[in-house]
Symmetry: C2
Subunit: 307 residues, 2 copies
């Protein structure tokens, strides 16, 4: 009865679904049970967490929502971590991948691995958060995740537990302009000059706008339309049609039809791809990690040895 994971799970489900009843259905509970769960949590914490009709988080509930999903994820990660110990090495390697992380170098490494080791590889392209989730919960053996950072800085990844990140590659950034756009003929642009432009918010495919805001230390980058999913070509189509701008790695952007990528000159940033793997990856996973990073058995920074 004391912050039970079940309670947290239904709490999250209720806010996700904005409804007790559909949350109950999703979890296989009765509406009544869900109601009791929320009531129990609220009694335990001594505050109302959820506003009913319409269902929404109270300030306290919003606070709890900053913790609960991470807690539940880590709980699953713990279970997965232990399960991994007693699991036969799979014959197939699963790689979770954010769209812009699946660049040429990763593809080449995969090809080499399949040729050399005759390992079946499954590549699953998902959003960035999902990459982390899949690696932590062992639904994927490895993850490739992309983002922007200052050159040779690590990506700021949240709360990974005993997981290891390995730098994979850095590439220049580019802004996608529709072909024929006045700025499309420039050699380079400054992101800060474009803060007031029209942007496409494509948090899972391109660089998320809030990340741009953070990294430029500037406001702006207001989304004009929102693009969900992990389809790079769909994003390119939107950009080509003039719906707004987006930031992608230059090599990837250069291969997209209908858009002209213009390198980002300032601030000095790179598109960085990192390889995520559990603390003790399987042998083929380790193999692939070495291939992707293009170096021999290698040092990597771990997340729990810090301070």
């Amino acid at each position: 009865m004391h912050m039970d994971p079940h309670l947290l799970r239904t709490f999250v489900a209720v806010l996700d679904h904005r409804s007790f009843s559909t949350a109950a259905a999703a979890l296989g509970y009765t509406q009544s049970a869900v109601s009791q769960h929320i009531a129990a949590l609220e009694a335990d914490l001594g505050t109302r967490l959820v506003e009913r009709r319409p269902v929404a988080a109270t300030p306290a509930g919003a606070r709890l929502m900053e913790h609960a999903p991470a807690l539940l994820l880590r709980l699953d990660a713990a279970r997965a971590d232990i399960a991994r110990l007693h699991r036969a090495p799979a014959d197939r390697l699963t790689l979770a991948c954010s769209p812009a992380a699946l660049g040429a170098s990763a593809a080449r490494a995969l090809a080499r691995l399949r040729a050399a080791a005759h390992v079946d590889v499954e590549v699953r392209v998902v959003g960035r958060e999902a990459v982390i989730e899949e690696v932590l919960t062992a639904r994927a053996d490895l993850g490739l995740i992309d983002g922007v950072a200052a050159p040779s800085d690590p990506l700021p990844l949240p709360d990974l537990g005993p997981t290891v990140t390995l730098a994979a590659s850095e590439e220049p950034l580019a802004v996608l302009f529709p072909c024929g756009h006045p700025l499309a003929r420039r050699d380079a642009v400054r992101l800060t000059d474009l803060a007031q432009a029209q942007w496409i918010d494509s948090p899972d495919t391109a660089v998320p706008l809030d990340r741009l805001r953070a990294v430029c230390g500037a406001d702006g980058f207001r989304p004009r339309i929102r693009h969900l999913g992990t389809d790079v070509h769909g994003l390119a189509a939107l950009a080509a049609a003039g719906h707004g701008l987006a930031v992608l790695p230059l090599p990837l952007a250069a291969a997209l039809p209908g858009v002209t990528p213009v390198p980002v000159r300032a601030p000095r940033l790179v598109h960085r791809t990192e390889l995520l793997h559990p603390a003790d990856p399987s042998a083929p996973a380790r193999r692939l990690a070495d291939l992707v990073t293009d170096r021999g058995p290698s040092r990597s920074r771990s997340h729990e040895d810090s301070r």
Copy 2:
């Protein structure tokens, strides 16, 4: 019954105490209950987690130990975060502080705050992990934590949830030599040259040796004796007596008796102090934060907005 926090709590206690019975006493349970908790966890995860007589973690148990304490801490953090919302602003400000973080600038800021705002301040000096714990669980309003990093790099802090870090200050590093030591007359030393020297492991007071190893990318830095607690002068006494070397910030080290601090030339590192505070600090806490960092109301990097 599904990875209940209670079970995790007793699991951690059992391994901490290396005994079911003393863990039971510490938790206010019966030995029997503890035994049942462990059995339940092991049944749930399908593996033995604890070796009995002597009590020790199995490999799977060690895995779980990489998650359980963090989970429990975050659980407490969530509760504390919510409690903070409905709590009257305290008349007293509590600052948790790692020993080497309490430098001159922090002391000055505290003095100014007391003078300007007539706020009672309680400073509690504890180990680095405890600083994080106290801030997350709202036992302290603010935390000052120190460590080494490359210049203007953030400290690598684990899993802080919705917490904000604010750069406070950077200072040169120094190695503590006993006065009269042959190297004590040098202007500067390289840490890597000293990897094979005798070291004092003082993880809570000086820079932890494993951090030195990580940051130098070198092995060595073997502990000769271990110094626990948070007493800088005790550490200095040990160093002065020639028991081994330790790394501290230069300004602090210069004020210690019996030792000669020699600046670290390479690798290019700084002693960095960061101020930790919850996402919505109380007004006096915010005030102190601004004083410590010596700038007006200020931007800060948050931990959950990443990617």
